[in-house]
Assembly symmetry: C2
Homo-oligomer: 124 residues x 2
Amino acid sequence: MSTLAADEETRDECQALAQVLDRVGDKWTVMVVGVLSSGPQRFTTIHRSIGGVSHRMLTLALRGLERDGLVNRTVFPTIPPKVEYELTEIGRSLIDPLMTLATWGRTNRRAIDDARARFDAKAD
Amino acid sequence: MSTLAADEETRDECQALAQVLDRVGDKWTVMVVGVLSSGPQRFTTIHRSIGGVSHRMLTLALRGLERDGLVNRTVFPTIPPKVEYELTEIGRSLIDPLMTLATWGRTNRRAIDDARARFDAKAD
DNA sequence: CCGTATCCGATAGGATACTG
DNA sequence: CAGTATCCTATCGGATACGG
């Protein structure tokens, strides 16, 4: 079987999928997961690694991940303060599904860009 | 290996992933893919199957998918007009990656909801 | 039946500046 | 260094109505 919403049971799959996208479908969250997949990182390190993300949005993305239990936040009460973020077990379990999607993207990027160009050309 | 952005090569993965989410990360697109995964459907049928989507947003979602070559649109010049949408080969190839994500969501939904509740409780 | 246009509110997201 | 608050803009998305 390879359908997502053929029957009642798979309708549930769509809901689950929608919830996942609600969590990681924003502009920066998956980037954060990607950066943290290589190990614990400090705020500033993440910030530089991603590049282009505003201070504010990175904070929000990290809060969201922490709230959902995908990321652990550890504060070292030093001066200046040091805060480390790391993926939790469940956070790490998200990497493979995301990799699957990324692979699909790399495989089909060219075809999609071409289709898009053709579509836009027809639209004059 | 199980990292997303450890080195330069995998940074590319993140870009690909970001592009995929740009395409399917909106509120309704994956629902449409889900509905169409069971075969060609007319506009109104899709509209009813999803439920809750506005006429306008469904049109936009379908346009986007058509533009990217994930969906074929066929117009039957009858009166009243009949328009059928179906996944293309590349569109169907997206189903499995999405299923992987959906499965992750179903598996971890409970844990995430709990973590969220705990986080919100602490925040008073 | 299908598509588009218009209007409107809600939210995402950037820039900046201020605290500890 | 890390987090928060404020302001402002652009985009998302719903409701409605009209055209083919």
